[in-house]
């Protein structure tokens, strides 16, 4: 089980996103009589597969994959087949972009390979399919994320509050929640 293999397996699931990248483009070839120009920095919108291999020493994980909500379960299945285990599930509230990001952390017992799967969902109506049938441990992590962010994990057997009081109707980790 190597990083390359799991990368390949997950590659097709990763979403393609239009992102803005700045890159240095060499100056157009000098026309006759003109001096060779300096390379120029241009901003460009490109389509990119959202699968990264970040620098481990800096980030603490090896593979960062962004998938659509529908593909979360498929990626989890792939990871389980490759003997990964689930470390945690959590959310991040990107209030400015009006989105909630769900982050799944996976790790492997024998190979040093941490994989992060992330997906974004609409903040007003956050819904992500559950992976609790694939990873039984996800059951509680998803319940916790539902407590804190109000994310509905469709197909989850029981989303009643786990850490919050049983009658809690608030989601404290949302950025607009004030105690």
């Amino acid at each position: 089980m190597g990083l390359a293999k799991i990368k390949q397996a997950l590659a097709e699931l990763a979403v393609t996103e239009t992102i803005e990248v700045s890159k240095t483009v060499p100056a157009p070839p000098a026309a006759e009589g003109e001096e060779q120009g300096k390379p120029v920095e241009v901003k460009e919108m490109i389509e990119q597969n959202m699968l990264f291999t970040p620098e481990y020493a800096k980030k603490g994980y090896h593979l960062d994959v962004k998938v659509t909500a529908e593909n979360v379960a498929r990626s989890a299945k792939i990871l389980l087949d490759h003997e990964f285990f689930l470390e945690s599930i959590t959310g991040v509230d990107w209030i400015k972009e009006n989105q909630i990001e769900i982050v799944y952390d996976f790790n492997h017992w024998h190979t040093l390979c941490r994989v992060v799967i992330r997906t974004r969902t609409d903040r007003a109506n956050p819904e992500v399919p559950t992976i609790s049938e694939i990873y039984s441990g996800a059951n509680w992590h998803e319940r916790e994320t539902h407590d804190f962010f109000g994310v509905t994990f469709t197909g989850h057997p029981d989303l009643s509050p786990l850490l919050l009081p049983e009658d809690a109707d608030y989601h404290p980790l949302l950025k607009d929640f004030k105690a």
Binding site: L80, E87, G137, L164, L173
Partner: protein, 372 residues
Amino acid sequence: MSADVIDKSLETFVLNLGPQHPATHGVLRVKLTMDGEYIVHAEPVLGYIHRMHEKMGENRTWAQFMPNTGRLDYLAALSYNHGYAMAAERAEGIEVPERAEYIRCITVELNRIASHLLWFGAFVLDLGGFTPLLYAFDDREQILDLLESVTGARLTFCYFRFGGVYNDIDDNFITGTREFIKRLRSRMPMYHDLVTNNIILIKRLKGIGPISQEMCRRYGATGPVLRGSGVNFDVRKHEPYSVYPEFDFDIPVYTDCDSMARYMVRMDEMEQSMRIIEQGLDKLPEGPVMAAKAPKILKPAKGDYYCAVEAARGSFGIRLVSDGTNTPYRLKLRSPTFSNLSLFAEACQGMLLPDALALMGTLDLVIPEIDR
């Protein structure tokens, strides 16, 4: 009466184990559906001391969150301090001086022994033996005295800082630690004779509460629970951090998957921690204990960072999301016992109540860490 006439709901009853129960160590509640003394279904109910540390983290500066980390797992507070300090250092790119790293490892391992000693005592107490608890506490007190002389606190140490440690250790600590290790080495055979080899204990733990590897994977169990199931996974070796690569130590692994295996893993880990501490004291380099260039106010670059350490109960992970300001944007604490406890419901099905409690004891639960 034929079998189908019997009302199934009358055959079982619900037993409320906790939140105030001698075996749940804190305020865990387990709703047990019992058939006589057999457990049909178990449902842990959490959240009795949920304090929303993660939200607190979003409302204070990076440095101000440090005391909170010691209050997750109050029995191994230093591992959690270490994890958080490392995560923030990774985000900010702070280099920690070598002496500080050695001091961190020595104190964390001392704390690990203290935690395992307390677990040992409390576990035997779960099984009905009172005396080993007090012997273990006697030894644990020595560790707490040592750590108090360095950190100033006995439980919530809050000793690490971004870029190093708060205080340097002194000669008293070094000689004291060496003496303690000598003392504990001579006490370990006593513990084994009194408890490990005791026929009653063997009968209660051998083959009881099996947790398979496959189950560990599905639930994400880590730490001694996983190592008792025969998986050689320890963050200290798997993902070497701090100065652990400098030390020669083994990861105890037992393949029996039962309560005895988990018990033995922890007992052996104490010996390994002692080895690490001895080597750490031998190799301890001179030098500063705080990075010279450590900024007073942290403002890590935008992005997210993950950092894991091997705490006494398993892999403690921390995910930081920074938006470039002096407060964390999001701070996720991955607590090992949360995952370890989640497998309890499945593992204890069909077990007898006292066996299930023995199983729960070997999970080594610290409720504030689960509830956060």
